[in-house]
Subunit: 330 residues, 2 copies
């Protein structure tokens, strides 16, 4: 829609006059009204032509944030595929706010996007259902199984976390802290569950769980508070991501403990940070960029009708335990 | 534009038949042709209505990457303002490739975006000129003065870097390494120039410049190679960003040097990393999120005609030297 200012400029009338026409005021001559309405029609027509002419197709992409590297990499993967297929990426961040998450989805819906990719979102099943019912395909990244008819791209969080538990056990660790990710998030719950199950199977393996979110600050605070209260009564710490591990390492160092000498450390993600810490960080490598690529590919297949089957797909990408220098055999 | 498949589905004819109509083949009855053309018209009308109905307005945003935190934060700032003003953000990354940069801008142009925000781009003046000539406003982030009529949001890179040089000098450092950012990038050139000028003024201040790009890996390689060749004949290192400082610190530690005991370290940006390294990193804080906010505000002012003046605006946001624990007085 043209703005009042644009209409005034194009028609040669004042903003006040245009405003009167738009509000339906009677204080305008019939001739003026006609002229202004004609200009509006032309401006709108030109705009719609230009949009149609560019055969505009857009995909709404919703991520929690772009502050750290994780979702930026997912978005780069998505963009790569969308660009190649001449789709535009509408990117929205919801900053871990349920309200903003729902607003962003409503906005996508109102703008009639051709498809939606949602990453690590929370309580949005009803919003997503609206898209699916309207025939707009949805692909989710990093999400548990759902009743909704949408494809999902994820990693095996449970199995990845189990690899870490086993590795720490094999390296002789029996008393471990797990600084959790946000429990609203599926991947955080899975990572925790694997450690709980492993500890239940192995009688001599004890895990203390510390609630936290995924932020670097939370890793720092979790360890600082724990040390203040209980002292260093553990030999290893597993953090729900690499950034939290960085925060935890800082709290340990401030209290005079080094890694891996005094405490062994394991992260998750293999963010660029992990390799360049010294000592470098043992972690799980997630194929983050590929998760984005695959999500966009599934969506485009659906849009182009290449996926005729009505079966939901769950694509699980492989992870690797990257053993570096932050775990000591004891 | 509807796809052939959509047209086939809506009209009840086969893809082959639709295809024949679209290609102008004579192998179709007049009745079929009419029916299919009617469906195409309806589908296009519905699409144009839906786009017009949502008063769709989009801004193209071009950033080098989303891998690290810097441009993600800029993008979050831009999004905040666009969302509030009911603009959609089309985000493209150009991955530091001149070809992709130009492609992305061409794509924005073809899609008739309402405005463009470009961050830290290279040789694109002719592409940007096209937008400006077409009356599509452009705002640049982190860019030197230009002949083009576009607003620019930036920080004073020269002055910020000079603050670091003076601080290192005051702390007793006389032999300093500067690991440079990519010289194609305006901010990297400014940061280098300040150190060159300072060294020219102070006879007892010597700087060695090491060419590099902005990547963490480059910081590591720059220091590793330097140490291999010349040994540790410097007391401080200034890195063009915090991530490069992380890489440099790793190379120093591998060679048995600690900071700030053996070498003092200064970064740039105040990324989340800086605060959580141990010892924490002295750096320049850039108001990254605010740069995004301000760029989007300038653009929207222009789009809404609030900025009547034809004068280009250059908005320079303040920086701060954040003194932490990585520089030692000698």
């Amino acid at each position: 829609m043209a703005t009042i200012r644009e209409i005034a400029k194009a028609s040669g009338f004042s903003i006040a006059t245009v405003s009167r026409v738009l509000s339906g005021s009677e204080n305008v001559t019939e001739e003026t009204r006609k002229k202004i309405l004609k200009v509006i029609k032309e401006l709108d027509y030109r705009r719609s032509q230009s949009i149609k002419g560019s055969s505009f197709r857009g995909i709404g992409v919703l991520v929690p944030d772009l502050k750290a590297d994780y979702y930026g990499m997912v978005a780069e993967g998505i963009e790569e595929v969308l660009l190649r297929n001449h789709f535009e990426m509408f990117l929205s961040t919801y900053r871990h706010s349920l309200e903003k998450e729902r607003d962003a989805l409503e906005e996508f819906f109102a703008r009639k996007v051709d498809g939606v990719i949602v990453c690590t979102t929370y309580q949005d099943e009803d919003c997503l259902e609206k898209f699916i019912e309207a025939g707009i395909p949805v692909v989710a990244v990093d999400r548990e199984n759902s009743e909704l008819k949408m494809d999902i791209v994820t990693i095996d969080n449970y199995d990845s976390s189990l690899k870490i538990a086993k590795y720490l056990y094999d390296m002789g660790h029996r008393k471990v802290l797990h600084v959790e990710g946000l429990m609203e998030v599926y991947s955080a719950r899975e990572r925790k569950q694997a450690f709980m199950d492993f500890a239940q199977k192995k009688e001599d393996f004890e895990v203390t769980f510390i609630p936290a979110s995924f932020d670097v600050k939370d890793g720092y605070i979790a360890i600082k508070k724990y040390l203040d209260k209980y002292g260093k009564n553990f030999t290893a710490g597993f953090f729900a991501n690499d950034w939290m591990a960085l925060g935890g390492i800082k709290a340990l160092k401030e209290a005079g403990f080094n890694y891996p000498e005094d405490v062994s450390i394991v992260g998750f993600d293999d963010s660029p940070l992990a390799k360049y810490l010294y000592p470098s960080l043992t972690t799980i490598r997630q194929p983050v960029y590929e998760m984005g690529l695959n999500a966009a590919k599934l969506l485009i297949e659906k849009l182009e009708g290449k996926n005729e089957s009505k079966v939901k797909r769950r694509v699980i990408l492989p992870t690797n335990l990257i053993i570096r220098d932050s775990v000591r055999k004891i």
